[in-house]
């Protein structure tokens, strides 16, 4: 009740002096300040108004000073404006349905900055945000740091089994649920492949390079900016996901004798191929390694300036949008395979988790269930074109009508390969990014760069296992 005391005290006292009636706080004060004219008559209209004003003032000061409602769920999510709009409407519906207030904490679109903001609040053990979306690549860190509350009482049957087992249930406890899935896929120009010999989408990287080298000069005659193949080569996480796909199942982060290694033949071949795409075959734009992240790649292809594009499935609805130059000219196919080993699409996507420091455990869990429910996942598909984490939606007739390519994508997700689920993944990925990028920049030879990356990875690991290998 101390809350009643603050702010313009003088005003309140003056108001109270005129108020009569059995009002607990007014009484003692009116004792001291009896109106001079002894006016104690029946409450008039003025009295009623003033009394109401008093109560309002008291309530306002009470509200201003009291804590916000304790049961509020705070949900941290970042992304493009259209994505945040979707989350806002979902939040409104959740409030209406459950009566639990939900606040959205808007985060930047950049995933690294999203991770940073979560790491800071979790490291400080803050009670907000309660629920957040995490990139699949952070789950190793978040679970090892014990920042995630185990999700109880959740039926995981409708979700992709391999994803749940490999990513969300690392040690027997369910710590997260997939909200949307990503896996690298190859976009190609159907019309151009038809026009130049009627070929189908390439099954191997060498076939891709061959067709691109043939079609690019022919297309250049009419379009000076045309390139054969665009992919994410800038120094960031997207480069690592593409690199793993160039390397195939025998490459990527290979674990040998319990040690993560990059310097293996499949990776060396992949690095050479990536460098040659830019520097020898010249079928990838020269700025691929400085300025090409997924959005740059997507826009390049969407302008009609590329034959092939490696990107995530989110690009599909955008390529099919009304102002797109490649509308109805685009095909989707699985990632091509390298010479040795099989094709490996890198698994991406965002998962929902609950902070271990949450103050609204039950409500947060309720929100997780709400977001991952069949209907809301379906809404996400219809509104954003994203690929849901629930397997059962890939057979939904409404969805297949809107996005016929979903049938094939379901297969891709089932076989997609996750990145290593180690807590220090961000660090080893940063090392890999730098060395792969410097090969693309022509500053290092593939094998030397990978050997250097291995040395740095070993140094990081020895730093963490500083007392005889224990964690």
């Amino acid at each position: 009740m101390m809350n009643l005391i603050p702010f313009p005290c003088g005003i309140r006292i003056r108001l109270i002096r005129w108020s009569v009636g059995p009002w607990p706080l007014a009484r003692p004060l009116t004792h001291f300040r009896k109106p001079a004219n002894g006016h104690t008559g029946q409450p008039t209209n003025l009295h009623a108004v003033l009394k109401a004003a008093c109560i309002c003032l008291a309530l306002v000061s009470l509200a201003a000073c009291s804590e916000p409602p304790a049961r509020e769920v705070v949900f941290a999510v970042g992304g493009a404006p259209a994505e945040l709009d979707f989350w806002e409407t979902l939040a409104d519906d959740f409030e209406k349905e459950s009566g639990i207030p939900l606040r959205i904490l808007r985060r930047p679109a950049d995933t690294d900055q999203q991770r940073q903001s979560l790491v800071i609040s979790l490291k400080a053990q803050m009670s907000d945000p309660d629920v957040f979306l995490m990139d699949i690549a952070w789950i190793g860190l978040f679970s090892a740091a014990e920042w995630l509350m185990p999700l109880e009482d959740i039926d995981t049957a409708p979700f992709f089994k391999t994803v749940i087992e490999k990513v969300d249930r690392p040690a027997g406890q369910l710590l997260a649920l997939p909200v949307y899935m990503d896996a690298g896929i190859l976009y190609y120009r159907k019309d151009l492949l038809d026009a130049y010999g009627g070929e189908s989408a390439p099954r191997t990287w060498s076939a891709l390079a061959e067709t691109a080298r043939r079609i690019q000069p022919a297309e250049r005659k009419t379009n000076g900016d045309f390139y054969g193949f665009v992919w994410t080569g800038a120094q960031y996480e997207g480069l690592v996901t593409a690199f793993m796909e160039f390397a195939g199942t025998r490459g990527g982060f290979v674990v040998e004798d319990g040690q993560i290694r990059l310097n293996v033949p499949a990776n060396v071949r992949a690095m050479r191929f990536m460098r040659d795409l830019i520097r020898k075959f010249k079928i990838t734009p020269p700025n691929a390694y400085t300025g090409m992240k997924e959005e740059d790649v997507r826009m390049y292809f969407q302008r009609g300036d590329a034959l092939y594009e490696r990107n995530w499935p989110y690009a599909w609805p955008l390529h099919q949008s009304r102002d797109s130059a490649v509308r109805d000219k685009t095909g989707v196919s699985p990632i091509p395979a390298p010479e040795a080993g099989q094709s490996a699409s890198t698994l991406g996507g965002f998962h929902i988790g609950v902070s271990r420091f949450t103050d609204v455990k039950a409500e947060a869990l309720q929100f997780v269930k709400f977001v991952t429910s069949y209907n809301n996942q379906k809404r996400m598909v219809m509104q954003l074109g994203w690929n849901p984490g629930r397997q059962d939606l890939y057979d939904d007739p409404d969805i297949l009508k809107q996005a016929p390519h979903f049938k094939a994508l379901g297969e891709v997700f089932r076989s997609a390969r996750p990145r290593p689920l180690v807590p220090y993944y961000t660090q080893i990925s940063a090392i890999a990014q730098q060395h792969i990028n410097s090969v693309l920049a022509g500053n290092a030879a593939p094998q030397e760069a990978l050997a250097a990356a291995d040395r740095e990875i070993r140094a990081v690991l020895s730093r963490y296992a500083i007392e005889n290998g224990s964690k």
């Binding site: 400085t290 807590p423 920049a441 963490y464």
Partner: protein, 314 residues
């Protein structure tokens, strides 16, 4: 009688502060002066000393989110010294300082000399020169990113209409290109800062000295070398000091423009440390920050010594 009563009140007015002054064996006036400084000390302590000490302490621990926190002495520093990426970052940072600071101060001096002359429109020009400094660094980084952009950048537009190269140039694609790119962007942004301080220094030089030098038939160069430079020296040293420390911890322009690439060629130490902070490896990032802090401190001391600051202040 009168004197006596005066003394009495004086004795009666002896407060706790007087006693503190006695204990510390300083004058009552000095104590008052110190009292005025206390808010500043508190401010500096809360905002600077405590965080610096906290960072230093953190650098001696293995503070990784997924491992138990543990005191490990100098292990982080030893690991840093063996870290090739750290040395690449140190080389870049120092090179950046040694190229960008002289460039900016020289250009700033040239601009300040021009703006110190009297000519029509000087007020407007003085204000206009400050515009780059008023633009947030992240925004100017983005502006330069658009200038250097491979497909639709202004630089490649010029290359095309002037027919300077066969195809567009990937400006930030080589070590040299990205280095020059970030230096240019930083110089554009911070030269006005140097110009502003130097202009203040120039306008405090007594114009009579120039008149006298003119009477002595000193030419323009002589007036500059024997009047301007010696009198501007304290301000010049301050400008160099400010710019050096700011260039040492450069972050925003580069973070936006190159993100540290290509291949980590343009990673300043602050970005290096930030990467570890943002991936929950706080101890290692703290160690890198402490080394950066020590670098900045040593260079500052060097400047102050080389500039014989105390003499010129007196």
């Amino acid at each position: 009688m009168d004197l006596n009563s005066n003394r009495k009140t004086k004795l009666a007015a002896r407060t706790g502060l007087d006693r503190i002054a006695d204990i510390l064996q300083i004058e009552r006036e000095s104590l008052t002066a110190f009292m005025f400084l206390v808010p500043l000390f508190v401010f500096l302590a809360v905002l600077i000393f405590i965080p610096v000490l906290g960072t230093f302490w953190d650098s001696l621990t293995r503070d990784v989110a997924f491992l138990p926190k543990k005191f490990i002495g100098t292990a982080n520093y030893r690991a840093l010294i063996a870290d090739a990426a750290f040395w690449q970052s140190v080389r870049f940072t120092l090179l950046f300082v040694f190229v960008s600071v002289p460039l900016e101060v020289l250009m700033g001096l040239a601009i300040a000399l021009v703006l110190n002359e009297t000519f029509p429109g000087r007020g407007f020009l003085r204000a206009a020169v400050l515009i780059p400094w008023a633009i947030p660094a992240a925004v100017s980084g983005r502006v330069f990113e658009l200038i250097y952009h491979y497909s639709y950048g202004a630089a490649n537009y010029l290359v095309r209409i002037l027919d300077l190269s066969e195809g567009p140039v990937n400006w930030l694609g080589t070590d040299l290109g990205s280095f020059a790119g970030v230096v240019l962007a930083d110089a554009w942004k911070t030269t006005p800062f140097a110009a502003l301080i130097l202009l203040a220094g120039l306008s405090s030089i007594n114009p009579d000295l120039y008149k006298q030098a003119q009477i002595d038939r000193a030419n323009f160069l002589q007036r500059f070398l024997y009047v301007t430079i010696p009198l501007l020296k304290p301000v010049l040293v301050v400008t160099l000091l400010f710019r050096t420390v700011m260039a040492l911890r450069v972050f925003d322009v580069i973070y936006v423009l190159t993100g540290g690439g290509p291949g980590g060629a343009t990673t300043p130490l602050s970005l290096f440390a930030y990467r570890y902070f943002s991936s929950a490896d706080f101890g290692y990032g703290a160690a890198a920050s402490v080394l950066l802090f020590v670098c900045a401190l040593l260079l500052s001391v060097l400047y102050v010594k080389a500039g014989r600051f105390q003499e010129s202040l007196q």
